[in-house]
């Protein structure tokens, strides 16, 4: 970052070259004088000779201008919009273009969270650090130099569950590419094929990242979420609904457009709810045919069924092509209820938590083995099929 004194000339140059209007700060050149105005200070005029003095009265606005226009740059990019969101800056570029519909957020639930801070409040907040959550990630934006902020920000990134953990207890990284490795396995060492599953392990931190490094790391954890979130804010998110996505498939996935309509509801309930995926599902069956289940409250949108859902849909399409039959089998009331408990435990990923001797839980291993010993014949439930007419 440059010496603050060296920012005056570039700033004056911008003022001469069309004027500066940025984040509540305005500087123009009219008739040989510079005219300065901010959201809180009255209009003053100065010339080259008094520029240093005049601008030092609005040092925060100047360093803020420098950071965004000369360090971050990238006008109109998702990266810039995201970094501004990180410190609760108003989404100015979009506002200026009249593109943002409602700076208060996309829907009511996120409204409070979207309150943005003008420069003086933001500078106050950045001394302590501004925290944001993005899925299971926590991002803190802060000044490099807290005592005499020169405008330069750095970003810390860690797991939301580690918000209260001492840095000394975390594995600290600085290369964003390390995020790929961290995101590969869950806490039990199992592969995470869906990056946005809420199973990101904790115990790590990236500290003192540049804006570019932060976005790179976030994108390794949750690929394409920043780009799609940005599009959503600009109201240009291109959602591909179930049917068009399914019809586009070829090869072994060619069949999935035959998945029955109601099965798509069940599939979304199985895979896409907040307990399974942190993306907010925005796709429906078709544009005018919504699924029965809510898309969730995720911070970032899901714009089309992901590859995991496509692969699972193929299995369900094949399974749903079978005819239903009526089975007759003998079970006690408790055994019938136990089947439900077993399915529920697997569906909630609860089997690991059921204690060895907790025979009161129908999904306990001994209980399941007992039921199998009693009711299985040749490896499957003993039952008769009733011919249906």
């Amino acid at each position: 970052m440059s010496d603050p004194a060296n920012r005056v000339e570039p700033l004056l140059e911008s003022a001469r070259d069309g004027g500066v209007r940025f984040d509540g700060f305005r500087l123009e050149r009219t008739d040989g004088a510079y005219v300065l105005e901010t959201s809180e200070t009255d209009r003053i005029e100065f010339d080259e000779a008094t520029a240093d003095d005049a601008l030092s009265t609005v040092a925060e606005y100047v360093s803020n201008w420098w950071y965004w226009q000369r360090v971050v740059e990238g006008d109109g990019t998702a990266r810039r919009a995201f970094l501004r969101w990180c410190e609760r800056a108003p989404p100015i570029e979009a506002e200026a273009n009249g593109e943002i519909a409602d700076a208060d957020g996309i829907d009511g639930s996120r409204e409070a969270d979207e309150r943005s801070l003008p420069v003086p409040d933001r500078y106050e907040a950045l001394r302590d650090g501004v925290d944001r959550e993005w899925g299971q990630l926590r991002i803190t934006t802060r000044f490099v130099d807290v005592d005499e902020p020169d405008g330069e920000r750095v970003y810390d990134l860690w797991h939301a569950d580690d918000a209260g953990t001492d840095l000394a207890e975390l594995d600290v990284y600085d290369d964003p590419r390390e995020a790929r490795e961290i995101a590969t396995y869950d806490d039990d060492g199992r592969y995470r094929p869906l990056n946005t599953a809420p199973t990101l392990p904790s115990g790590w931190a990236f500290t003192g990242c540049s804006g570019e490094e932060l976005v790179e790391a976030v994108e390794f954890f949750y690929p394409a979420t920043v780009a799609n979130w940005h599009r959503e804010r600009l109201e240009t998110l291109d959602v591909d609904h179930w049917l068009e996505t399914a019809e586009r498939q070829t090869g072994i996935y060619d069949v999935i457009d035959e998945l029955p309509r109601e099965a798509v509801d069940w599939m979304a309930e199985a895979c896409c709810v907040d307990s399974q995926c942190l993306r907010r599902r925005e796709w429906e069956y078709e544009a005018d045919d919504e699924l029965a289940i809510d898309g969730g409250d995720g911070q970032f949108p899901c714009r089309e069924p992901c590859s995991l859902v496509i692969a699972a849909a193929r299995k369900w399409t094949i399974l749903e092509s079978e005819d239903e039959r009526t089975y007759e089998l003998e079970l006690t009331t408790s055994e019938f209820n136990q089947l439900a408990e077993l399915i529920d435990a697997v569906a909630e990923g609860r089997t690991d938590e059921i204690r060895e001797a907790d025979v009161y839980d129908g999904a306990n291993r001994y209980r399941a083995r007992y039921l199998r010993a009693k009711r299985f014949d040749d490896g499957s439930l003993e039952a008769r099929t009733r011919g249906e007419q």
Binding site: R180, T184, Y191, C306
Partner: protein
């Protein structure tokens, strides 16, 4: 600004499937020729569908990390990238000479240079030879030694066999190895009978696959008789029917693959400066310990 996208298959089941993609992407990042470098996948994230929008560059070079022209490179990747004007004719290839096509993706205002797969690039021939050198730990390997280049065969895609034969022919033309053969998993000449096809006492076997997985770490070693059970591993070299077989594992894990990716992009007009040279020197100075031929066992899906 220019960006490079490496488009690979990836896997929902095997976490190692994407390792070579990441390794090559990192090598390209370090070479520094591109402002942005992204990995993109069919089965992992970012998906082909959403990768281009994550880039700030206006000019995007997409290099498929696939062995041959076929279903994925001709249909799936261009469709998912939304290259509406795409037609396989644009490559004007008979199976092994796709170079690139310049197109627009419909969801972004960017120019996409859609390149041919790495597997059919001429530079791949060098990677196969380099693989033979590293597995035998002999920079001059060739004299008295046979080389088998192994691929799927036609069952899945007829161009897959063409790519294997193409490189086998090119290596044969160099008169370096005693004998060079193209062998296949699902057609004649089959890799199962590898020793029948060679007269040399030493045969290097290089599978032309982009990543190690089920085929290269389970099927081929067992079929060739390197081991009865892949889980127990195998010797390098292993003696089968009196022949010493040097099994190299998937060629796609070779460090020089990053050069092939850069060459593909350069052919399509990317400004890669001297990064191919630099990359090669870095790979050479890193020696031949970069890849463990037994790493990454497990099935892809």
């Amino acid at each position: 600004m220019q960006a490079l996208v490496i488009a690979a298959h990836g896997s929902h089941l095997n976490p190692d499937a994407s390792d070579p993609t990441y390794a090559h992407a990192d090598a390209v990042r370090e070479a520094g020729a591109f402002d942005e470098v992204r990995e993109a996948f069919w089965k992992e994230e970012p998906h082909f569908r959403e990768v281009v929008r994550t880039l700030e560059s206006e000019e995007v070079f997409v290099v498929p990390l696939f062995i041959s022209e076929g279903y994925f490179t001709e249909q799936v990747i261009p469709r998912e990238l939304r290259l509406e004007e795409w037609d396989p004719e644009r490559w004007d290839s008979d199976g092994t000479d796709a170079s690139q096509a310049t197109l627009e993706a419909t969801d972004v205002e960017k120019t996409v240079h859609y390149c041919g797969p790495v597997g059919t690039h001429d530079a791949m021939t060098d990677v196969i030879v380099s693989r033979a050198e590293s597995v035998t730990d002999d920079p001059d390997v060739g004299e008295g030694v046979g080389l088998a280049v192994v691929g799927h065969g036609t069952e899945r895609n007829e161009n897959s066999a063409k790519a294997i034969e193409y490189h086998a022919d090119r290596i044969r033309g160099r008169d370096r190895f005693e004998e060079v053969k193209a062998l296949f998993m699902d057609e004649e000449p089959e890799v199962d009978d590898v020793t029948d096809y060679f007269e040399s006492d030493d045969v290097v076997v290089v599978p032309l696959f982009v990543a190690d997985g089920y085929h290269t770490q389970e099927d081929i070693p067992e079929d060739m008789g390197l081991t009865d059970d892949f889980r127990e591993g195998w010797e390098i070299p292993a003696i089968v029917d009196g022949v010493r077989l040097w099994y190299a594992g998937a060629v796609g894990t070779e460090e020089l693959m990053a050069d092939v990716i850069l060459e593909r992009a350069a052919d399509a007009g990317a400004d890669v400066g001297d990064s191919i040279e630099t990359g090669r020197e870095a790979a050479e100075s890193a020696g031949d310990d970069g890849t463990d031929p037994n790493a990454g066992a497990g099935a892809g899906d």
